[in-house]
């Protein structure tokens, strides 16, 4: 029998803010344990949360970039469960009225995006456990997809695109190693043609995007194999073991939590005003996919170039600044892709200088070969191309009278080549051109020299 896999993803993303969601502590990765804490994020008796507006702003920005409906009225709820990494033993989250609903990542629809606070981090030692509360209270966005994904590859694509968008919007750095992006997956299989969904399994502990793909690949095969054997899939939560390359049962449905959600009485509802929304909208970043399309249309770049440039927002920005005043954006793109990209971080060349270099080559002031020399020095010193050309005396000689005099000199000195050429050996003209270059110490415009020599020797 053929099976169809149905996948929905729940992605938690730490939002890039200076301070935590409900207190003034710094959101800082890697600090000494329990040094970025205060009575509020430690859940001390009597403290109250105060909402971080920047986190709300960035969540709405994410919603706008993903085409969500921004709910003008949303509210906070308490999600109740006991765990040592949860300082209050309830998490402030959003239950029935999240900030964003709908939207999509590529062709995959989103259900919602809501905002909440991250939990602390537990450490298990031989006989005891420890909790580091530095992470507790970090603003956390939960992005929930519809069960629209049909394969592990879809999940890979979904996560890659989502990550690209969130980075482009400066919403999160999405560093999975630092736990800034975490993904849980709901996965089920069903015979092709069946409308009813199969029993779903929740997968946890996938620490890389390719890990998600591998885990889903394993899990769909495991489920299909179980069904093929005549077995049943039970609704449960399974843990992905990266080393073993397998999933293992964590808990079954009987242990499902009743979170007893209710409205958080310590916080006011979030009212998104027209002005606030408009302000966020103004700051919205172009989505990578849209930018790729625009670079192709606006600058006439090949798809490939646009893709390479847009992969890094800073590189794409650099390109656009350089291309703005250039007649040859493709040449700019070539320079960036072949020369700049491998060492972009060390680049000292301003976009305007790169445009100037391309223009100098276009206009024949220097040759392409000289251009490479000039570029190398620009890269090392940050100087302008005109300054380097001048200092090195590189300017190409394109004065026809000067070049013609040199051509006449070369013809006189090499009668054999002239005879060869006139006998039909057209390649002989290259030798003469070489002599012109030699006489000019390499400065003569080679194209111009070729034209003049051909004219003087009589055309073919």
């Amino acid at each position: 029998m053929n099976y169809e896999t149905v996948i929905g993803l729940e992605v938690h993303v730490q939002i890039k803010t200076r301070t935590k969601m409900f207190c003034g502590c710094a959101t800082e990765f890697g600090a000494e344990p329990n040094t970025r804490v205060c009575p509020v994020c430690l859940g001390y008796p009597g403290v109250l949360p105060v909402m971080n507006e920047e986190a709300v702003r960035k969540t709405i920005l994410a919603g706008l970039m993903l085409g969500c409906t921004i709910n003008r009225f949303s509210k906070w709820d308490r999600k109740n469960y006991f765990y040592p990494d949860m300082p209050k033993n309830y998490q402030i989250s959003q239950y029935d009225l999240p900030l964003c609903t709908g939207g999509a990542v590529g062709q995959f629809r989103l259900t919602r995006i809501h905002l909440e606070e991250d939990v602390a981090k537990s450490f298990h030692f031989e006989r005891t456990s420890g909790v580091d509360f530095n992470r507790a209270g970090t603003p956390l966005m939960e992005i929930v997809s519809e069960p629209d994904l049909r394969s592990p590859e879809d999940a890979f694509q979904y996560l890659t695109t989502l990550k690209e968008i969130l980075i482009a919007g400066d919403i999160s750095d999405c560093d999975m190693e630092k736990g800034q992006l975490r993904c849980d997956a709901n996965v089920s299989v069903r015979p092709v043609g069946q409308t009813q969904l199969g029993e779903k399994v929740e997968l946890k502990n996938m620490n890389t995007i390719s890990g998600v793909r591998r885990a889903l690949g394993y899990e769909e095969q495991r489920q299909i194999a179980a069904l093929e054997r005549g077995g049943k899939i039970t609704q449960e939560t399974r843990r992905w073991d990266e080393l073993a390359g397998k999933t293992f049962v964590m808990r079954t449905k009987e242990y499902a939590h009743d979170y007893r959600y209710f409205s958080e009485p310590d916080l006011m509802p979030v009212i998104v005003s027209d002005a606030f929304l408009a302000e966020i909208q103004r700051g919205i970043k172009e989505l990578p996919e849209a930018r790729r399309r625009r670079l192709v249309e606006q600058y006439g770049l090949p798809e490939y170039d646009a893709g390479v440039l847009v992969a890094d927002t800073a590189v794409a920005d650099y390109f656009e600044q350089a291309a703005a005043g250039s007649k040859n954006p493709k040449a700019i793109s070539n320079w960036i892709m072949t020369e700049l990209l491998p060492k972009f971080a060390e680049n000292k060349i301003s976009p305007a200088h790169l445009a100037e270099l391309v223009a100098a080559i276009e206009a024949g002031r220097i040759s392409g070969k000289q251009g490479k020399e000039v570029f190398a020095e620009m890269f090392a010193t940050g100087q302008s191309p005109s300054a380097i050309i001048k200092a090195r005396g590189l300017a190409q000689v394109s004065d026809a009278a000067v070049v013609e005099a040199l051509c006449v000199q070369a013809i006189k000195a090499n009668p054999k080549s002239v005879a060869d050429y006139q006998a039909g050996n057209t390649a002989a003209i290259n030798f003469l051109k070489g002599q012109v270059m030699k006489l000019s110490q390499g400065k003569a415009n080679p194209q111009l020299a070729g034209e003049i020599l051909a004219r003087l020797l009589g055309g073919h």
Binding site: V47, S129, D266, M268
Partner: protein, 477 residues
């Protein structure tokens, strides 16, 4: 006249005239505590040396400069215990000041010590304390009310010039009534809750317990105001609450809610309250009968909402980060042992009630429905306040009862708050002022005002107080 019997304004006048020093005043109060607190047992924790140091440093020109104030054991003061009268917070030392404590310190008050209460403010008699029962100074066999019973008792017994309490369903007004002092529950959002250990977040409000209405206004002047650390505190200017005192109440409409005079109540209490209403009329107020039709549901609604919120608020007491920990073989066992051992029976009862009310399958029938009825109760008050400026009711249906009399029957105990609970559900303000003695036990008159109607409430309370002598009565200890 002994210094400990002074009110804030009397003491302040003497301090400012230089007739007494802040140290002398604090010492007099400490002496009084030494003399009578063995009987009253209002205090859980005292630091006399620290109090005297604060007195020495006090600037008497400040609004509460040199005034000794007692703090209910539910409000955080840096460096002091804050146990909420619960074993589970044994050993916890507060690492920060509540907003109101910062305000009191800035106003020059001397923080005397911590007063007893029902555990986590859950109760009406202060019998639910892990640290023993506080006695009513008027009759040591009786309860002082609760949950701010310690604060009311020490003010009534002159063991503090004033005190802070918290009121979730009557926890300031009810003990104030039963101990014969003035207690005020401000409008929800008028006083910051930052640093008040939460019982029911949407109902809790800090307020003063004082010897007279002027003192109440002076305390409110200091306590009220917006706090960025409490998102539910209201950014609204704070008036001078003493400005309304002494103003004529002629022509003011005083509403008498017909649902607040119940057949089961003590007839002598009813007589005292009706007499007080007559006195207000004779001062020129116009008494109008009003109706609050959803009153009968208030207690039920309260015990769903308050317990639901409490079930989450008290979840943080788990032995992981502070307070008492009872070790177990694993974390679940540590939780259950810590909480099983640390919480008293009433607190457990309410956590279980609240957990149940929020559970899947019951949420709609209990919590959601209670929220809807709460809205109806609030609307009752909004409508009624279109017809009157303030409302007058008994604070409690009866006078202080005997220790142990109701402890076996939680439902009877819950009814002690039947007249005070609605104000918390509606978020409005109210005070209780002494209006009589029944068998030598104080009776309280509750005056309720609309949201941010504190000035009118205090104006009426003050007019009544000045026309009577009940506030001058003192228990014999």
């Amino acid at each position: 006249m002994s210094l400990h019997t002074l009110t804030i304004h009397e003491a302040r006048d003497r301090l400012r005239r230089g007739e007494v020093s802040a140290r002398q005043l604090t010492q007099a109060v400490l002496d009084r505590i030494q003399a009578v607190d063995g009987k009253v047992r209002g205090y859980l924790w005292l630091n006399p040396e620290d109090a005297l140091r604060q007195a020495d440093a006090a600037d008497v020109r400040l609004p509460l400069g040199g005034i000794p104030v007692a703090i209910k054991d539910v409000i955080n003061v840096t460096g002091q215990p804050c146990t909420c009268a619960s074993k589970i917070l044994q050993g916890y030392v507060a690492p920060y000041d509540a907003f109101v404590i910062r305000k009191l310190k800035a106003a020059g008050a001397v923080l005397l010590g911590r007063t007893n209460m029902d555990e986590f403010a859950m109760g009406s008699s202060t019998e639910n304390s892990s640290w023993g029962v506080t006695r009513n100074p008027w009759d040591l066999d009786r309860i002082p009310g609760g949950s701010s019973g310690g604060s009311a008792a020490v003010v009534a017994a002159d063991e503090a010039i004033a005190a802070l309490g918290s009121d979730t369903g009557g926890s300031i007004r009810q003990p104030a009534a039963l101990c014969g002092c003035v207690g005020c529950k401000p409008t929800y959002g008028r006083v910051s809750r930052y640093g008040l250990v939460a019982f029911a977040s949407s109902l809790d409000q800090i307020g003063p317990l004082t010897k007279d209405v002027r003192d109440c206004a002076l305390m409110l002047n200091v306590l009220a105001g917006h706090d960025a650390m409490d998102s539910t505190s209201v950014p609204r200017a704070v008036p001078d609450y003493t400005a309304a005192l002494g103003k004529d109440i002629r022509g003011l409409q005083v509403g008498l809610p017909k649902e607040y005079f119940l057949p089961g109540m003590d007839p002598q209490v009813e007589t005292a309250v009706r007499t007080a209403v007559g006195q207000l009329a004779s001062l020129g107020a116009e008494v109008v009968e009003i109706s609050l039709p959803h009153s009968e549901y208030a207690v039920a609604v309260y015990y769903v909402i308050a317990t639901a919120e409490a079930s989450a608020n008290l979840a943080r007491f788990d032995g992981v980060r502070y307070g008492r920990r009872v070790v177990g073989d694993d974390v679940i066992e540590m939780y259950s042992k810590t909480r099983g051992d640390g919480f008293g029976p009433e607190v457990k009862r309410r956590i279980i009630l609240g957990t149940y009310a929020l559970s899947a399958g019951y949420y709609d029938a209990y919590y959601l429905r209670a929220q809807k009825v709460r809205t109806l109760i609030r609307q009752d008050f909004e409508k009624a306040f279109q017809k009157c400026d303030v409302m007058v009711t008994p604070t409690t249906p009866e006078v202080a009862f005997k220790v142990g009399e109701k402890s076996a029957d939680p439902l009877r105990m819950y009814l002690s708050d039947i007249f005070t609970i609605s104000a918390n559900l509606a978020g409005i303000c109210g005070v209780s002022v002494p209006c009589g003695l029944v068998r030598r036990l104080p009776v309280g008159l509750q005056i309720l005002g609309p949201a941010f109607g504190e000035e009118t409430v205090l104006q009426v309370a003050h007019a009544y107080e000045q026309a009577t002598t009940w506030h001058q009565e003192r228990p014999q200890l």
